[in-house]
Structures are given as structure tokens and as C-alpha cells.
Symmetry: none
DNA sequence: TATGAATGAGTATTCATTCAT
DNA sequence: AATGAATGAATACTCATTCAT
């Protein structure tokens, strides 16, 4: 049991280290030696947990994506009104990214980079199914525009990443006010 | 004269090669040897045109950003109604990205990656000034929501990149219909 | 134990290879690839033992300097008469250089070249302390001229290098006779 | 005439630049591009004046050696007493090196480095003939020890370089007093 | 005579991965 | 399971030299 836990910890430490390094300098900054050192492990050990670097990145992507969506769909209840549900998810997403800047930044890189296998990318999309289902429900109720879910995603969730990046450059601070405004823009763009 | 032209051509060929390689495999795929070979030039020649790799990437970024915004603001006339102007710019942007997938993909990587110097990134922002001015005018006229221009950008322009990326994965085809829908979403998100 | 020994051997082989190459064609002949090949090791392996080329050269310098001075001060006994002691040290130095032409030639390069860090050079000087102490004693006894130890060094030890170099060009052979003469010149220059 | 002068000037500028660069960072610092830039000339132009880099270094060596010895034998009169003559030459040499630190440092590098062709090195030796003749005269007169001229050189002239180098490290200042002392050491080492 | 542009071969250094222990 | 040492191939960059003008 203790042994298993130690294994899990090491894997987690490796993923965390990779996240941190990719974040600070892109994928080329995350060389195996640095990842190993940061995780307090020998470089050779990495290969006990992952097939190779690409595999490690892929697994990291899925892990973060899963954590992100789990957080997004926390307390999600399909019986609530669509707007209410959407609002909750949207804010959950925002709060997650705001509180987990590293993870947010990493996801943003992955989504705009040939860093991740196409297959893995597709797998990541699946986590969003509940949101797509919600939109479908909203469309049936005539509340949400009859657009492709990708389009809806592009105008509601994707913009969140832009903010998070903006804050890094200190060009733009997110306050309660801007947060409300952002949600309003998101909702206006897809509501009927 | 012929010499100067040859120089300009070589520089352009190098930038094009870099664009292509970064696009296909991220910054690490664009190694100097490959860039040189693709531009049909010796690796040493690169350093006649650029200080180093980072400088080459930065210059490429600025060049593409400039071409993109020039295309976006073509025939831009501040005397037209705000919505009309915005529509024109938005469609110009979309068409540019749709017709220049390589450039679009590259810009998307740059905007979400520590690939570009912060200073260069800021310089790139300046090209958007006319759009920011237009929004300011729209706000004075009570047509556009009183949000930060970055927020407006996040919900109107930034989502375009998502589409372009989507198409690559063939999950989503852009038709005239979806294009209209996308613009509607963009406009709805920021109009009062 | 075997592992440690192997490590020590490799480091020694690298230093020896560097010595040999620097000697034959200056620092630029000692490129990492050649050093590696001569030490029968991969270029990457060098960096397990040394931080970089400069560090390798510095460490080589200190190692050789230490070996040289250890050989010089072998059986050194401060209780013997000053001249006797000096004679012993001087001959030890000569014999060392004569029997270790590679090392001698290398030290001579280092002492007249911006090849070595200033800090390392200073560190190398410390090894000569016993000789400086001996001279101080001789000065207190009124046997040695009251000159700066650097001056004494310049006229007694430094000239040895000139011979060694001369022999390489075959302009000058060192016999027992010339050896005696050389020591006489050295002693005459500093004795009261 | 003006053209010839311009040519001479360029050659001199190239030699001066090489001297300066070799001096500051060894032969590898003196790359053709830097030499050219420092001499305000195109890299290609260097090859109009010198066959290649080695040839340029060789010619520089001979030029400096010639200037040095010309300065050393200035006002040299074989009819003066041997000691007087030697003193004059020795001080001339010292003053030259003290006043031309760049040249001194360069010669010191050349004399202890495989930087210079063996043939060129031998050619450089010829410039010292008057000094060797003086010593021969002194030996005939029973004033100078019957040693090989190389040995005499090693203990009188060669040590000068050590001082000049010492001063650079600021470990040792040369005053009128030390200068006198140094000459005394030199003379004592070779006088009968 | 003089050059700026061009380059092939080379330089120090790094990296993902493997292997003996 | 875990590792430190080892490495071949690659990486960004440099350099002495050439050539068309």
C-alpha cells in the first residue's frame, strides 16, 4: 500500500514538474533531465512511468483536462434551468483557471500547439460532453442558438484563456466587475 | 537592384520556411538546419539575416501580424457606421485566416506560448489600435458595451482561431452559414 | 569501488587527452570532439566530468600545477641549508619538466596565454608558497637578495621553460654540463 | 603614391587589429571577421594582403619581433664596453615591453605557443644576432660565462616577460628600484 | 583593389533514451 | 522499482575562406 502510494506520488511529481517547466518555457524547456531533477528522481525513472516524452506530455494533458472538467461540472445538476447550469459551469471554469494558472496556461498551450497527439486531443474533447449535452437541451428549449457546439464553445469557453494570458502580461486585471461582464458577453453570444 | 531583391527573397524564404516548420511541429521542429534546407540556403546564411533563432521567430511574428492586420483593415473607413466597420474588419480577419491557414495557425501558437519575447508581443498588439479606436467610438455612441477592449477582443476575434484549428481536425467545416452564425455570436457578445 | 575507479580513470583520460591536444596545437586544437575521441568517450560524457571546456582546461591546469609542485617539493626539508634546499627544488623542477615534456609545455602555454581564468591562475600560484617561504628564510639569513619573490622566480624558475621549449626546436641540447651551468646562473642571479 | 600608402596603412591596420585581438583572448578570439571589422575593412580584403590566417599571424610576429629588436639595438655601439652595451640593450628591451604592453604580451604568447610556424620562429631568432655577437665578445674578454647563448638569453631576457605579465595581474608593480634589481639579477646570472 | 554575401565544415553543448547494477 | 553513468544524434551558432561584382 505504502509502496503503491509512493509510486502514485512519483508519477504525480513528474507530471507536476513537467507542467511547471512546459509552462515557463514551452515544451523545449521541459527536458527529461530537468523534469527528473525537479521531481527529485533519476531520469531513468521517468521511463518506468511513461513510455517516452510524448507519452508523458499526453498523459499530463489528459490529467489536467480531467481535473479541469471535473472542477467545471462539480455539483452539476441537469434538472436546473439551462442558463443557471451554464452559468455555474462557466464560473467554475473561470474560477478553476484563475486559481490554477499553471494548469490554465498549459491547456492553452496544448490547444494551440502541435504538442499533443491528435488522438489524445480528441480524447480530451470527450470530457466536455456534459456541456455539449446541456447546450443541446438549451437548443431544444429554444434558449440557445442553433449553432454547432464548437461554435458555442469558441465564443464562451475559449475566450477565458485569453483573459488568463492577459493577466500574465499585466495589461488587464480581472475584477468581480469584469468577471460579470465576461459572463454576460459569453451568454449574449449564444443565447437566442 | 537585383542584389537587393535577392536579399529580400532570401529573407522571405527563410521566414516562410520557419513558418511552415513551426506550424507542423512547434518551435522545436523549426531547427536552423531544417529551416536552412527548406529555404535552400546554408545554415550560416540565416545569421546574415537574423541575429539568432529567437530574433528570427520574433521577426516572423511581427511580419505575419502586420500582414494579418493590414489585410484586416483594408478599405477601413472610420466614417462608416460602427457595426458596418466592425463587420468588415471581422470578415477580413476571418477570410485572411481561412485563406492563410499556415499564418493563422502560427499566430495562434504565438499567442498561447512563451515562444515570443514579451516586448515583441506588446509590439504586435499595437497593430490592433484601429480596432480599439473603432470600439471606443462605438462605446461613445452607445452601441458597444462599456467593456475593456481586451474583453471585446477575447469574445470577437480570439474565437476565430478556434475555428481554424477545428477545421484542421476535420471536426467542423466552415460554411457560409456557420460564418454568418459566428459573426452573429461575435456581434451579440459585444453589442449593447 | 570499481565504478569509482572507472570514473577516476575516465576523468584522467580526458585530462590527458586535453593536455596532449592543447600541446600539439593550442587551445583551439583541443576541441571537445577530438578530446572525446582520444579519451575513447562520447562528447556528451565530457560534460559529466566538467562543466564546460573552460572548466576542463582550468581543472587540467590545476592538476598539472599540483603534480609539478608536488614533484618539486618532494623530500623538501626546511631544516637543510637554504642553498641546498633551493638546489634540490630547482633540480626537481627541472627533472620534472625534462621528464614530462607535455606537462611542461602545457604549463608554459598557460602562463603566457589568456587560456586560464585569472582566478584559477591565482590559485595555481599558491602551490609555490613553500618556495617563497624558503626564499624569505634565505633573505633573513642574508643569503638571498632582498628582492620580490616574483623577481626571484622570474630569474630562477621561469627560465627553465625556455630550455624545454628550445629542446623541442633542437637548437639546444641539455647535457649534465648545461644543467649545472643553468643552475649556477639561477643561483648567481639571486644569491647575495 | 597615395594608393601605396593606403595599402600600407590597411596592412598595418590589419596587423594592429590582430595583435589587439590575439592579445585579449588568444588566437581564437582573433577571427577574421573581427579583425576585418576592427581594421575597418571587408573580410575578403584580408586575403589581398595575406595568404591566410596563419600567414597573417606569422607576418605579425615577424613585424613585432623586428620592431622590438630595432628598439633594443638602437644606438648600439659595439665599441663600448660589453657590460655597458648589454645594459643598454637590456634596458631598451625592458622599456620597449613596458611601453608596448600589447606587443610584449603578444610576443610572450608566440614564444610559448604552437601559434607560429617553426620556420617563422627560427626567422625571428635571427634578429637577436647582435646580442649573441655581443655575448661572444664578452666571452672572449672573459667577462661573460662560457654558456650557450640560449642559456644566457633564458636568464637575462626571457625573465622580462614574466614581469610584464605579473603587472597585468597587479601582483607586482615595477618601480625604478625593481628595475635596477632586475637588471642586477640578469647581469649576475651571466657575468663571470 | 575592394567588397558584401555566401557557405561547408566545424564548434561547444544538449537531449531523449538506454543499460548495467 | 530505481538509478547514475553513458551516449549518438542533434542543436544553435561560428569561422576561415571564396566569389561575383
Amino acid at each position: 500500500m505504502a509502496k503503491l502510494q509512493k509510486s502514485i506520488d512519483k508519477r504525480a511529481a513528474l507530471l507536476k514538474a513537467t507542467l511547471c517547466l512546459v509552462n515557463s518555457g514551452g515544451i523545449q524547456e521541459a527536458c527529461m533531465a530537468k523534469v527528473a531533477k525537479m521531481a527529485d528522481v533519476s531520469p531513468a525513472t521517468i521511463y518506468l512511468y511513461f513510455e517516452n516524452k510524448q507519452d508523458m506530455i499526453n498523459q499530463l494533458y489528459l490529467a489536467v483536462k480531467e481535473e479541469f472538467t471535473q472542477s467545471a461540472f462539480e455539483q452539476f445538476d441537469l434538472n436546473q434551468p439551462v442558463k443557471k447550469s451554464f452559468e455555474q459551469i462557466w464560473f467554475n471554469m473561470f474560477v478553476y483557471k484563475q486559481s490554477n494558472l499553471e494548469e490554465a496556461s498549459f491547456l492553452s498551450q496544448c490547444d494551440n500547439t502541435p504538442m499533443i497527439d491528435e488522438a489524445t486531443r480528441q480524447a480530451g474533447l470527450k470530457y466536455l460532453q456534459p456541456l455539449f449535452d446541456l447546450w443541446a437541451k438549451g437548443q431544444r428549449e429554444g434558449i440557445i442558438k442553433e449553432f454547432s457546439p464548437f461554435l458555442l464553445y469558441a465564443f464562451t469557453v475559449y475566450p477565458i484563456a485569453f483573459f488568463i494570458n492577459m493577466q500574465k502580461s499585466e495589461l488587464c486585471k480581472v475584477t468581480d466587475q469584469t468577471l460579470k461582464e465576461a459572463f454576460q458577453a459569453a451568454w449574449d453570444s449564444i443565447k437566442v
